[in-house]
Symmetry: C2
Subunit: 457 residues, 2 copies
């Protein structure tokens, strides 16, 4: 135990391998199904969108996957990231708990997203890919991938939800700074985009539409372009484990081990990146740990959804996977944590929730911002609305310790800063932020559209 | 010499004292004159606006001023800041030079400004001040002081230039997050503001007007409120020396000593904070160093101004000091580096330029953004437009080394990130950014309004 504020790792301590939880999963993996035939897909099918080296990572049973030197060289521009003990927050809460947070907001684009963006750009470059396509909502993922493609000399087309393209230009400009082409989706560059515009020339776009456009461009490029996704997939989550592997070392520096680790979940990547290395310790060394995945009540896939087979995307064009889902046609309310508005959840996170290794927790938007403001006033850092979900539960757990007198060690992942999200803070500070209950009826309706897959062996 | 990217200091290496260059100035200090009588001011006069403990720092001849523990505790939330070697930029430039940069953008508000804001809030609290007033343009200084006042339980009124209040709301919201009251200046809260509004109800405001309002509120508060300034004054620059004192340790870790240090100058504080500790080594240990202060051609006080007595503010209400000035009535073009639009320069920086210890360098806006984009594409970090002025000269010096084959060591201060300034990058990337020559005629006109001060002994 120490009273330091920060635990810094020299770059020599940057992990040399990612942790692949496939090796230690307590349950066997479920097949990934073709969206048309509903039969298990082959690597060839995925090969239209992804390079073979990333597909092999997706299905690898190896516990450790080496981080290539060129990726580590880029990581070193901001990694290892600091881990903090929130001494001032502890004092403000008057709690006996010790609160630690890993801070990924120090990356050049302000979030954890570059951890996989850099890896994906590298492996695509290695595989001969000339250009990538992707979608982005407010631009957090797009700006990370733009930076990564810039570093490895890959072209990038970003399909950005039109309403964000116009209303939240800052991250778009970052993408342009890094040389990416950014299009307001729906565009007339794809068949799907044209069909949307034919129905509604003023369509504001949606993440689902943007995904479909990015996928279509890659799929029809005769192999010249590949598609890149910022969460959900196994290799994406694995690239994020550099976060938790650093955190393990930093908790050792602090002389404590967490009783619980906490992260927010949208697709699952920042959460898994932080938590899976602690689960590795649990699975292989029997080190007990509570692992809490926090989601918005407006889009509560693991606390209210069903663990079943569903399409990965709204348009029913992506593969079908077994996951916690609210139904692929479910459209959540417009909460400010845009990164947490996914209808489903990463298959590995879902399987671990189902198996009891991960607890889900749903929190409302207004209490989340209350926690974010309290955190900033104690620690200075203004968190991204997504990350603030983890802060909310960390504070709740610390207040519980105050009640019970227990001196627990709480660690959470602060996955990004909120400097691009100040509009949401303004609404909160001026009492204009809306809260959302669990939209039970909309979910029930969406559940009627789940795909009817053949019974699995 | 090392090939590391980052040089991190443990928080035990956080400096315990600020460096006060007064102790080593090669020329005697010039008197500060009362704006009305034009006679040297007394501490009592300054005491209306500032607490006595800060006034004593302003005139102290001691080389080291202890950093109080409560200030160091807050500093530790983000300090020591990292120092980087720009290995990828060196490679992109194909230069034999080694380029280092100190990165102050990791502070919670994204700039170096909290280094003095926290100190000023602490010393005011110690002196019994209940509330501070200040002005801010785009909000960089205001957000830093808001955070600092929040930490020490001081109220804060910020007079924010009206056009920025409406057009650049993000930093305003940060101030509100930290509990500050932010007013669009000109307001009807002051006599001066009312007089401006009487003349022009739609006045967009200016930094000069906002300063006058903040000063008036403090001066007419019967001692309840004090005024706080983010640059120019000696104690403000001194609080920033924590930057250079860390950099000295980090250069030692790197096993090199800079041939030159570079910073941008508006009022002079980030520059002085970085450079003065290197000048300490020059003055006391004869360690040679080139010190380059970079300013915009649109507002080139040290390269084109006159070293003479002038008012510190536009409204001729602030004390008169000897400094490089373009004339207090000079209004520079609306360049995006708003922090560099001051008509004068800190007296100590001015004296050191005059004495030949500091070189001035003026650069144009468009080449500055070219450098900023090149830097971001190599190193990932998107710099504040102000800091990008230092990048421009660092790159120019590195390219000069490429020509001559000299392997110089270049170190600059990257005083903040540009995440709140992406509009300027957008204009640049879309070819809409205007360049500015030196506005010689406007300066000549402003020079006719210099105060006629009595001859000094």
């Amino acid at each position: 135990m120490s009273d330091q504020h920060k635990f810094l790792l020299d770059e020599s301590k940057l992990p040399k391998a990612w942790y692949n939880i496939n090796a230690d999963m307590p349950v066997p993996p479920q097949p990934v199904l073709h969206p048309g035939t509903m039969q298990p897909v082959t690597p060839d099918f995925l090969g239209v969108l992804f390079p073979m080296n990333l597909i092999m990572q997706e299905i690898s049973p190896e516990r450790w996957i080496e981080i290539p030197e060129p990726v580590r060289e880029i990581y070193k521009l901001w990694r290892p990231t600091p881990m903090y003990r929130a001494l001032r927050l502890e004092k403000a809460l008057d709690t006996p708990a010790h609160i630690y947070y890993k801070y990924e907001g120090v990356s050049p684009v302000g979030s954890h997203k570059p951890n996989t963006a850099v890896a994906q750009a590298f492996f695509n470059k290695e595989a001969g890919t000339k250009a990538l396509t992707t979608e982005t909502g407010a631009g957090q993922w797009g700006s990370a991938l733009a930076m990564a493609c810039n570093f490895f000399g890959l072209d990038l087309e970003v399909y950005m939800v039109k309403v964000s393209y116009h209303q939240k230009p800052y991250r778009r400009i970052i993408m342009e700074d890094f040389g990416a082409q950014v299009f307001a989706s729906p565009t007339d560059r794809t068949q799907y985009g044209k069909s949307v515009l034919a129905g509604d020339p003023n369509s504001p776009g949606s993440l689902g539409i943007a995904i479909s456009e990015a996928v279509e461009v890659a799929a029809t490029s005769n192999g010249a372009k590949k598609y890149s996704l910022g969460s959900v997939l196994g290799h994406v989550l694995m690239h994020q484990t550099v976060v938790g592997l650093e955190a393990l070392q930093q908790m050792e520096m602090a002389g404590e081990y967490p009783d619980m680790v906490i992260g927010c979940i949208g697709g699952g990547s920042n959460f898994a990146g932080f938590a899976y290395p602690f689960l590795w310790k649990k699975f292989t060394e029997k080190k007990p740990i509570r692992v809490i995945a926090v989601e918005p009540t407006a889009c509560p896939s693991v606390t209210q959804g069903k663990y079943t087979f569903d399409f990965g995307d709204t348009a029913a064009m992506a593969p079908i996977v077994k996951m916690y889902t609210l139904g692929h046609t479910f459209v959540p309310p417009g909460i400010h944590a845009g990164g947490l508005r996914y209808h489903g959840m990463a298959p590995s996170v879902s399987a671990l929730v189902d198996h009891g290794d991960i607890e889900g927790r749903a929190v409302k938007q207004v209490p989340v911002f209350e926690a974010a403001v309290q955190f900033s006033q104690a620690e200075g850092i203004i968190a991204a609305p997504e990350s603030a979900h983890a802060i909310r539960v960390a504070i709740d757990e610390a207040l519980e310790c105050k009640k019970t007198g227990q001196k627990k060690v709480i660690a959470f992942n602060l996955s990004g800063h909120g400097h691009f999200d100040m509009g949401a803070y303004e609404q909160f500070l001026h009492g204009q932020l809306q809260d959302y209950e669990y939209p039970a009826e909309k979910v029930a309706e969406a559940m009627t559209h789940l795909p009817q897959v053949p019974a699995m062996a």
